[in-house]
Point group: C4
């Protein structure tokens, strides 16, 4: 029995065997297909004609993912630990809505089912785990987290200030019905999205809006500069194979042309 568990643990959690890779590929295909079903079911014309098929497909995928989730708990060495991990929680959230639609019947059950069902789209998040290259980007963003927070805070203050000024300059008559609404406009403008559902009509408002646009256009340089500086400095870090190890204290990060170890003073080999 232990052999069975260990074998499946390798297939489900590992990617170093043909069976493990096949399992992962099938799982990704199922996740993408099930998300596609939820999407298609939301199109009125498709729902009318194929709603029933999509309903049963939905249940098929839910059962498959339930079996997979139970298997993961069973083969895992510490099931409780897995269940509390990020992907354990995503797993349970991605099968729960379909079951919940059973215990909450009623007059408007059709719509509520679909609303809950739509939450299953978070299943997509699971795909994230299958890519390793994301780590470098994540590290760069993590190192720059303080600068990014300062930047986001500044943008937040700016949107509040511009939003309030525009509320005073344009007023409810021109679509700026309240300060929160004006802040929404300021975000639309500063991020250079510019829907045009609300736009300034008075000369003063247009002048203020012009300033907001130029501000947004100029400050987009700041997050870009932050991320680029991080990624560039990551690229400057010595690669493992280039590091000569000190023969005495084993420190292995030295400048390229160092003659002596800067920790213990031993002579480094060329």
């Amino acid at each position: 029995m232990t052999t069975f568990r260990e074998k499946w643990r390798h297939i489900i959690f590992g990617v170093d065997s043909p069976a493990g890779r096949l399992f992962d590929q099938l799982l990704i295909a199922c996740i993408l297909l099930s998300v596609l079903c939820v999407m298609l079911d939301s199109v009125a014309a498709v729902h009318r004609q194929y709603g029933l098929y999509l309903y049963w497909l939905e249940w098929l995928f839910t059962l498959l993912f339930t079996v997979e989730y139970l298997m993961r708990l069973y083969v895992s060495e510490r099931p409780a630990h897995y269940a509390r991990s990020f992907f354990g929680v995503v797993d349970i959230l991605s099968i729960l809505p379909t079951y919940l639609s059973l215990v909450m019947p009623g007059a408007n059950y059709l719509l509520s089912i679909r609303l809950l069902r739509a939450l299953r789209v978070f299943r997509v998040f699971k795909l994230m785990a299958y890519m390793g290259e994301a780590r470098i980007l994540m590290n760069a963003l993590f190192n720059a987290r303080r600068k990014i927070l300062v930047f986001l805070y500044s943008v937040g203050v700016m949107t509040v200030v511009y939003g309030t000024l525009m509320y005073l300059a344009e007023g409810p008559a021109n679509g700026f019905t309240s300060i929160p609404q004006s802040i929404y406009w300021a975000i639309v403008t500063i991020t250079t999205v510019g829907y045009g559902d609300i736009s300034p009509q008075t000369p003063l408002g247009q002048a203020l809006a012009s300033m907001a646009m130029l501000t947004g256009y100029a400050i987009i340089a700041i997050p870009t500069g932050i991320v680029t500086a991080e990624l560039t400095s990551v690229g400057r870090m010595p690669s493992p194979q280039a590091g000569r190890q000190c023969p005495q204290c084993r420190k292995d990060e030295h400048e390229k042309y160092a003659n002596y170890c800067d920790r213990c003073g031993a002579v480094l080999e060329k």
Copy 2:
């Protein structure tokens, strides 16, 4: 009495004691809540139902901030210096509007109160002082100030030129009613905001607009390049404690915890 002043000076201006940190956290919460009140009060539906509560909350916050301002002046070593500092001026500006609404009654007092009240949103600026990481970004922007000015000036010239050309090409019939209006359109376009409230209708106008868009799309690279180059060079600058010079060979770039010079092997001073 001096002890009392000093104790409160530490609480109000310092952040190195539990009491000082608690004071700052409470202050930030109050500022955010009071700004939230001003915002909510501007929503017509909320004002109708909770206007009175928000009115009294407004006064409560104003009195709290007044007490805080007087305390700051009292415990400060040089009150006049604080009152003229940036945050001293912001402090007084953020409590004044509510008091002004008392001495300026009249038929339309309700609206004017709210207009003045909305100025209190500048209180948000105070939050800025609580973040230290902003300095690096500020320095990068300060070092690049001349290049940014040249860039903004070029963008300004471009918007004037494109605005005038579009005014000639499209004319008042297509929404380009005046040159200032056309310049507003050019800013909306070059910053890639693109509301669509004014958009070219003639082939010539669309050709000119296409050029303006491509210009704006291409030149956004310039502020980004400026800020990135600054931030990258800041990251390369040796930090103060790391710049120890080797007493023997004068090499002055060593790793932070180096004991020996990696060029000549001499012992480095701590």
Copy 3:
């Protein structure tokens, strides 16, 4: 006869003789003119007045390009190899539509001709081969391909999640008629295009949309950072002739025209 083939091979495939350069310049002019004809013909007013002239010009260019294609096959050393290469396929695709319009007559032949004809615009792709500087940009993009894929995948997940949330928050009544439609909206918003054909109406939807905009505004920094880091590191890479190693101390980064090693003073080989 071999002399004739070799002479024309130099003219058609080479760019190192005056005749070869003239041939390339004429070819580029013809390609641009023929694309211009297709474009102009799609304008209703132009088609009504000059449709016949454009029709014959179209045939003239098609015959010219056919002769050129046959010549390329004839003078090429390995005709089958050329026919299967990228530009061989583009060549045949750019003359086929006009011929196809002959064998597919019918009631609606006029429109179908023009649809097929419009495909000839891909002929523009051929111009790409005449520029060599593109290689550095291509290399930078190729080196960064994994990071770019991770980024595009993250953006994809984000648009699906934001699209679904907006479908739940706004619903069909406000234009978000289905999840695919909502995903289209999310792409329009996150890329900061912002048509405004669909825009959120409810406060909850506007709050979600604000988050989506700020997300899109912030993450544009990531592809920029990736590409910049690649281009900067390309610029730092030693060019082949510059990477001479010092025979004495093994330092291998010297300026291009250095005669002596700047570390140990040994003579460098040319």
Copy 4:
């Protein structure tokens, strides 16, 4: 008389004396004011009330600039050379329109005057000469000119391809009335401006538009990367004061820790 010319040459062309600086400042003020007059005159309400004043102001500025232009020719050492230089041409272009309005009277003279008058806005270009910091940015752009051309060409090809595909997918019924019009839409979309005056209605068109948006969103990284890499490499250039000069051959650009001159092998001082 020569003294008079030389004195004024210093005032008009020089900036190293108080008089020269004052002249430049007055000139800039006049240019900005005259442009402001042209702008204000294009606003219908302002023209109705102050049109006459602006008309005479316009003539005043034109006469001033004429005197200034003649003075420049007079004091210049090579008048013909100045007249053919960039700013010489801009000078004459910025006074000509007002004079032209005299010799071309007629029924519709009022409008034509204002159209010609609006061209005077190019006078703004003259301001450009007064800023020196622009050179670094210009150099970075000049060094990157080939990469930028390749990039612009790629964007051009993309807009033609996306425009044609959208014309086929959406057709004249949905606003894509011709290929040039569709290319205009493609430029609006790829540059992320997004007016929304033309927007896709069919699912296929929306899918294509989504691809176009993601393309535009991703490739904005490329010009940014190019410019940043140029500006960064400019920043890496050794600053003049940091360079130690070789005592033997006078080469003054050495690496920071070089012991020997890499050109002549002489020992460098620390």
